[in-house]
């Protein structure tokens, strides 16, 4: 069967080159990097090399990189550790379209008496900067806003936001899980204090992430224990995955140009092809300030789950913001925050491409999807 994978914002294929560099650490190089003997000690060098590779991708100093188990851990560490370090009076400012790994800790903080502000977005998914400006004026806060949205690909103006937060004297964390590897990021230019990234969104395996913590940022450790990661995260290092993440970041830097040119061209071809062949179809989110790989498209009058199942039968993997696919009863919080009408929200499909996709695959989707849409619309009482 054909296998056209266009769900890369969910997870990516592990690059074969990444697997190659990981394998020795399941074999002969199994020592503990903390050991005071050559056998373990030689492993520590590889961790530091990986740390430098991750740092290089975002313009950080290697000492500012903390390895974590995933993007969600990075987000939890930044928000919960940051709030704890700042003391009880600090507010948390975030947005209504964040990933669950931020909204979860935010709601937890609110339930325990903390003050949480969720900034809204407009119809194109762009942050209400005026509202952010007003909130920043209300006193010291930890601000956590995503670099790019996982569902729509919409990019927040992080340079501008970071400057605003700095100006207000607050602390700024950005969940850049979807942005790293797809957009050029340089923390020397953008004054973020903390930045989350995840391995499996950039062709490293699941189970590894990192948090960038700018020197001097107040942050309590999230996992208490040993001296690993300079005492910021206890626990023996996940050596093979750390090495894999390093390699993946190295490759991401190399392919960044292709991501913003060839992958973007494929995405545009897909998008225009579908808009052209399927009536009553619209794009969700800002079409300019958007990740080059993401297309979130709504097919009116039908429900996303049916589209996904039919596509899956044809070998096409994508995802949906519909209620039925999430197990909840309402469509995605991102799509709702944008005020997308219900007629379109339930039938939203996200295609997210990567450097492994081809023009042939895009054309196959453009050819396969319209009959599926027509078929499901024939069943719908609203057409």
């Amino acid at each position: 069967m054909k296998n056209v994978y266009m769900d890369n914002n969910a997870t990516t294929r592990v690059a074969p080159e990444v697997v190659d560099v990981m394998l020795p650490f399941f074999g002969e190089l199994w020592g503990n990097p903390s050991s005071m003997h050559y056998f373990g000690g030689q492993v520590a060098r590889h961790i530091e090399a990986a740390r430098a590779q991750v740092a290089a991708l975002i313009g950080a100093d290697p000492t500012e990189i903390v390895f974590t188990s995933c993007g969600s851990e990075s987000d939890n560490m930044a928000t919960r550790g940051g709030l704890e370090a700042a003391g009880p009076q600090i507010r948390l400012i975030t947005s209504r379209v964040e990933h669950a790994a931020i909204l979860g800790p935010a709601r937890h903080y609110a339930e325990h008496g903390g003050e949480v502000v969720e900034i809204g977005v407009d119809a194109s998914g762009q942050l209400d900067l005026a509202e952010l400006h007003r909130e920043l004026a209300n006193g010291h806060a930890l601000v956590s806003l995503m670099w790019a949205n996982n569902e729509t690909g919409v990019i927040f103006p992080i340079d501008e936001i970071a400057a605003m937060v700095k100006q207000a004297g607050s602390v700024f964390h950005t969940d850049a899980v979807q942005a790293v590897g797809k957009l050029p990021i340089d923390v020397r230019r953008t004054p973020v204090d903390m930045l989350s990234l995840s391995g499996h969104k950039l062709h490293a395996p699941k189970g590894i992430g990192a948090l960038y913590v700018r020197k001097g940022t107040k942050l309590n450790p999230f996992l208490l224990g040993g001296h690993q990661e300079s005492g910021r995260r206890g626990g023996t290092e996940n050596v093979p995955y750390i090495v894999g993440l390093g390699k993946a970041c190295d490759m991401a830097a190399h392919y960044l140009g292709e991501e913003t040119t060839r992958v973007a061209a494929l995405r545009n071809r897909l998008e225009l092809g579908l808009l052209d062949t399927c009536p009553d179809t619209s794009i969700n989110g800002d079409r300019i300030k958007r990740l080059p790989n993401t297309c979130n498209i709504s097919f009116q009058f039908i429900e996303g789950e049916g589209i996904l199942y039919h596509m899956s039968d044809a070998g096409i993997a994508a995802s949906s913001g519909s209620a039925c696919t999430s197990g909840s009863l309402e469509p995605s919080h991102v799509i709702r925050a944008m005020g997308v009408p219900f007629t379109a929200a339930h039938g939203s499909i996200r295609f997210s491409l990567c450097r492994y996709n081809t023009e042939e695959e895009v054309d196959y989707v453009i050819e396969t999807l319209p009959p599926i849409i027509t078929r499901l619309r024939e069943l719908s009482p609203f057409v």
């Binding site: 009058f301 429900e303 049916g306 209620a323 039925c324 009863l329 219900f342 024939e378 069943l379």
Partner: protein, 280 residues
Amino acid sequence: MWDYTDTVMDHFKNPRNVGVIENPDGVGEVGSLACGDALKLTFKLADDGHIADAKFQTFGCASAIASSSALTEMIKGMTIEAADKVTNQDIAEFLGGLPEQKMHCSVMGREALEVAIENYRTGKTSKTILQGKIICNCFGITEDEIKDVVRNNGLTTAEQVTNYCKAGGGCGGCIHKIDEIIENIQAEIKKAATLAPAKAMTVLEKIRLIEETMEREIRPMLRRDGGDIDLIDVDGDRVVIGFRGMCAQCHVADFTMKEVVEAKLREFVSPTLTVEESRS
């Protein structure tokens, strides 16, 4: 992916009886775009009073489409009286079961059928029929609809009610009202159960009532933790039971489960019962 049965996938991929019957004898329209699913059911009667044809149009997920398709297949050839007895459980069973969070799809089928039959009998439109006391404003669910799913499916929590008919799944503002409805229904069941055994019971009646009480009040609780219970003997007021599965190995069984079982049986069967546990 959802754990759908082959029958669900078959009815989703090859839906039967799609469309709208012209000049139908009954029309039932339930749900809305806002809710995420909606169903329009139409049927036509033959001269002998049997349902000659039924068709549907559905907006919704795979299991909503499958439930609608199954419903039309089930009611074709039935009399109105027989069709009126088709429950959401019957639809789910026809499909070989539905995931718990998707049971509302079968409930939507039952509702459309109910509305279509009432439309046939009274000529009222779907909108008029559905105008009841709305409890859940987000999904437009009435008190009667909630009562029906609670009674017909033996639901005990608001979360289950949300899975079965969506009520409470939006803003959550009506959860306390749903809790109240569940409480009232449970009180009704309790009252009915305690009134019944007032007259003298035969041994057979007593055993049946004990079995019923165990099935309704005790087993669901035990099965949640991987256990079960068997009735072994009834001798006058002495009830002998055996715990199975996880419960059999549970060291605290003596002073917790036995007491719970005894309390429930005294409450619903007879206040003079004693419970003993068989270790065989």
